[in-house]
């Protein structure tokens, strides 16, 4: 109410002359508000249901965090997008000039409106801050994880046109072209490349880091779901970039130990160990 009373005093936009009706009830506010609410509801529903579904079942806390981030960003963006679209829709229908030829009457000569501008900037800055703080907090775990008591399992990942090669320093000589990981155990990947830049991507775990020639990058994750997931190369690396994909088998700790032992014993000539335990892994 105070809003309405204050109006005549300061230079409010024209077209909102003071009446006894509260501001939000007046045309065009009311219909736009309505469209806005409807659109927001639709977008919120979309945000809650669709994106996370498309991303497939998360196989690590990292991925779950990403899904939550995605959803919460979508929720935050929903009202903003809905507002813009609501005004667009309404203006296209209600303010459209229906006569033939060029409009003769001009529109109201509004030049700015401090309140609207301030509110817009403040709200978008606030939203921006929300996203920022959220993002900065979410990047934290990777460092806090590093200080966790459990020593990580180290895997050396080497990209090479157009295959991935995995080595397990814990069992010297053990290497494979499909990745095997024990469930619920933190893994540290040390990633490098023999030729061009590749990018090591475990889709369902939300893990991605470039494999650069001449440098080693690291990333860590704790797989927490049993099963077989996709590893893809996410950086164009030449002819068969499309086919530079393989699988990761997340298995129970004891299965992993026995697999590692076999892999290490089969190692000598660098021949790819036949993935004998894969049957158990996918079971």
């Amino acid at each position: 109410m105070s809003l309405t009373e204050a109006r005549p005093a300061d230079a409010e936009p024209p077209g909102e002359p003071s009446t006894s009706r509260p501001a939000w009830r007046r045309a065009p506010i009311f219909p736009i508000l309505l469209i806005w609410i409807v659109l927001t509801a639709l977008l919120v529903a979309f945000a809650l249901v669709v994106p996370a579904r498309l991303m497939g079942a998360a196989a690590s806390p990292t991925m779950r965090e990403i899904e939550t981030t995605f959803t919460s960003f979508s929720l935050a963006a929903a009202p903003v997008a809905a507002l813009v679209w609501a005004i667009l829709l309404y203006s296209l229908v209600a303010w459209r000039y229906r006569g033939g030829g060029r409009p003769t009457d001009p529109g109201p000569p509004v030049r700015g409106n401090n309140r609207v501008q301030v509110v817009w900037v403040v709200v978008s800055t606030a939203l921006c801050l929300f996203l920022l703080i959220w993002g900065l907090i979410v990047i934290q775990p990777s460092t806090s994880e590093a200080s966790s008591t459990q020593a990580p399992l180290v895997v050396d990942v080497t990209g090479q046109q157009w295959v991935w090669n995995f080595e397990y320093p814990a069992a010297p000589g053990a290497q494979s072209d499909e990745l095997y990981l024990p469930v619920n155990q933190r893994v540290l990947f040390r990633v490098t490349s023999k030729d061009v830049v590749h990018s090591f991507w475990i889709t369902q775990m939300g893990v991605k880091v470039d494999a650069n020639p001449g440098a080693t990058t690291t990333i860590s994750v704790t797989p927490d779901r049993l099963g077989t997931f996709d590893i893809r190369c996410a950086e164009l690396c030449g002819l068969y970039h499309s086919y530079m994909q393989t699988h990761v088998h997340v298995v129970r700790a004891e299965e992993f130990r026995s697999w590692l032992a076999t892999a290490a014993s089969q190692a000598p000539t660098g021949e790819v160990p036949s993935p004998s335990p894969s049957g158990t892994a996918t079971s």
């Binding site: 991303m55 700015g112 996203l131 830049v197």
Partner: protein
């Protein structure tokens, strides 16, 4: 003899003056192409004989060096042949061009022939850019259709991986180059000088130079096709680009030429705007479109040299065996990535700013309202320009080059949404209660706002490090940037074309056909790229010739959508070409615009203004009584006492 030349101005050029200047009258694009080709063949033969043949065949630097030399010589030969160096040489000799020469160069009385010469008239350059841009879009669009045809179902029998990679890179870079010049080229050259009340650009010969440089780069770029394409994607990441086929040499020479071209154009246009505005046109009275184009080219002026360096180092790697990007020689791919994105991110705003500014110019005209807030628009543009130089590493979150900097770069990147949001606010505020005259130009505003919100918000997702860790290198990114580049910038430019078409071609655009094409393309666009978001989220990597069958449904939808875009774009193109040739003659000011370009006659005479204009107010005073100060201009236009009922008529007439 002189009498005849005056009476038939279209056919014969002005009589050559007895002095040496007669020489430039015989040069044109044909002599340019001929000389360029001849010199290129000579350079090719000579360099392939003289350069040392490599001992080991693993890195054949010889062929790369030959290619680079050949392409560069072509460009230089072409420029000599078209007469680009006549001015500098005459300067060197101390025999500057005479007034008659300058007039000849401005294309006086030359009819159509002036479009094929080193013509300095900014309006000619603008038209040249417009046509070249459309050709580039045509080629890029055709390649897009090939890409989508290949992805229509898994198994892709249509293109093999080599061809696919080559085509994706070419599509990317052709589109990027086309979008960089699509506003500042045609409209920056044709419209901006008139808008600011100038007779031409500050440096007309540099203006012609910038166009013909770009022109000379196009055949080089297209030569990449037979030479194995650009098999690295448009970002040409090293060291993959070190080992790519010869098409890469074509790519890097193209970029070098293009960078020079845009540097020259940037210095020229910035000077024009800063120094040549009409009397009375203070910065606050300068149209917003001028701000958009100027900041865009000025940003390009600092950004593109970095790209040029990235490419010159690549040329040294490829042609001379340098090891800038080769880890085994102490180089690093991160050097390339940093240089590339230092250019690459400002570049996206180089593309976006003028396109958005065109919308800001269009909206007041078609709502018959002043621009909602000129200050906010300028602040928005300035904020974007300032921030855009400090966000580049958001393309490299997962590169591992400096994980500690991911946080700070996330901060700068997300902050850009605030100034960008301001521009959106100004557009919305201008639409607010306007008398929306829904012609084609203003439809672009609607579609851009729809598309760009999607593109912008998905950009915000990507700017978040954890999300980018999941989505980097996936089709999600591809969908994001098509929403900003095509849904935002290109769509806005289609509006700009429709808006300025009558002024530039002196014909009215066929709106009915144009609108059909526009709507079709927009609907197809949203189908295509929403589908692409879906496969991106599901984990389809970019630049894969043969995506796994998990993504088949989404890819099918995208491909079908792409055909719809293609059809729509063809219809739009038909409207343009047909109207250009047969459209109704356009009046001087069909939209009732207030900016200066609408005040000069159509077709615009050489030197634009018979009398230099004097500006006494800004150009957005729609609905404001002349010379009223601010308090009245924001007052209610209807009688205040008739408030509630008074509101009805306007509303009623609209609903």
């Amino acid at each position: 003899m002189s009498a005849t030349t005056v009476e038939t101005p279209d056919t014969s050029p002005a009589a050559p003056t007895p002095e040496m200047g007669g020489f430039i009258r015989r040069l044109n694009a044909v002599t340019g192409v001929v000389l360029g080709l001849v010199l290129a063949v000579v350079a090719w033969q000579v360099s392939s004989r003289l350069l040392p043949q490599p001992e080991e065949l693993s890195h054949n630097h010889h062929d790369d060096a030959v290619m680079i030399i050949t392409f560069s010589v072509w460009a230089i030969g072409f420029l000599i042949g078209i007469g680009a160096f006549v001015g500098p040489v005459r300067w060197l000799l101390g025999r500057d061009l005479t007034e008659a020469d300058e007039e000849f160069l401005a294309g006086k009385d030359q009819g159509v022939a002036r479009y094929f010469r080193f013509t300095t008239d900014h309006k000619v350059v603008g038209i040249q850019y417009l046509v070249l841009t459309m050709v580039l879009f045509g080629v890029g669009g055709l390649l897009a259709m090939l890409i989508r045809t290949n992805l229509i179902r898994p198994g892709s029998p249509f293109l093999n991986p080599t061809e696919y990679n080559a085509i994706v890179g070419l599509h990317g870079i052709i589109m990027i180059i086309a979008t960089i010049v699509m506003v500042t080229g045609p409209f920056g050259n044709f419209i901006v000088p008139i808008m600011i009340g100038a007779r031409d650009m500050a440096f007309p010969r540099l203006n012609a130079l910038s166009f013909w440089l770009l022109f000379s780069a196009v055949p080089v770029l297209l030569a990449a096709f037979p030479l194995g394409g650009i098999a690295t994607g448009w970002s040409a990441y090293a060291p993959l680009s070190d080992q790519s086929p010869l098409g890469m040499d074509a790519f890097l020479v193209t970029i070098v030429i293009f960078a020079v071209s845009s540097g020259v154009a940037g210095a020229n246009m910035t000077t024009t705007v800063v120094r040549m505005r009409a009397r009375g046109m203070s910065w606050t009275r300068t149209p917003i479109f001028v701000f958009g184009t100027t900041t865009s080219v000025a940003l390009g002026l600092v950004a593109f040299p970095m790209f040029m360096v990235a490419m010159i180092l690549l040329a040294m790697d490829r042609g001379l065996g340098a090891t800038f990007y080769v880890a085994s020689g102490g180089g690093s791919p991160w050097l390339y990535a940093n240089l590339f994105w230092l250019m690459g991110h400002p570049e996206v705003y180089v593309i976006l700013l003028p396109a958005f500014a065109a919308l800001l110019e269009i909206t007041p005209v078609f709502t018959r309202k002043p621009l909602f807030s000129f200050t906010a628009a300028v602040v928005g543009i300035a904020g974007i320009v300032g921030l855009s130089l400090f966000v580049w590493a958001h393309h490299m979150y997962v590169a591992g080059w400096a994980p500690a900097l991911n946080g700070p770069f996330m901060v700068t990147t997300e902050m850009i949404s605030v100034p960008t949001g301001l521009l959106i606010l100004v557009l919305l505020g201008t639409l607010w209660r306007g008398v929306v005259w829904t012609r084609l130009p203003v439809l672009a505003v609607y579609f851009v706002l729809w598309n760009f919100i999607i593109g912008g918000v998905t950009g915000i997702y990507l700017s978040d490090v954890p999300v980018d860790q999941a989505e980097h290198g996936s089709m999600f990114v591809t969908a994001h940037f098509h929403y900003t580049l095509m849904g935002g910038a290109l769509t806005a430019t289609m509006g700009a074309v429709a808006f300025w078409f009558p002024k530039m071609t002196a014909r009215m655009l066929d709106e009915r056909v144009g609108k059909i094409g526009f709507w079709t393309a927009q609907i197809g666009f949203n189908i295509t790229f929403l589908g692409m978001f879906a496969v991106g989220l599901a984990g389809q990597p970019r630049r894969v010739a043969d995506p796994s069958s998990t993504f088949a449904a989404g890819n099918l939808v995208s491909s079908l959508g792409a055909y719809v875009i293609g059809i729509g774009m063809l219809i739009f193109l038909y409207a343009i070409v047909h109207s250009w040739r047969n459209g109704e003659p356009a009046p001087g000011n069909p939209w009732g615009g207030k900016t200066l370009e609408w005040q000069v006659p159509t077709p615009v005479p050489l030197e634009n203004f018979a009398v230099p204009p004097v500006v006494t107010s800004d150009f957005y005073s729609y609905g404001e009584p002349p010379e009223t100060p601010a308090p009245e201009s924001v007052s209610v236009p209807r009688p205040a006492d008739a408030a509630a009922p008074g509101e009805r008529p306007l509303e009623g007439s609209a609903s």
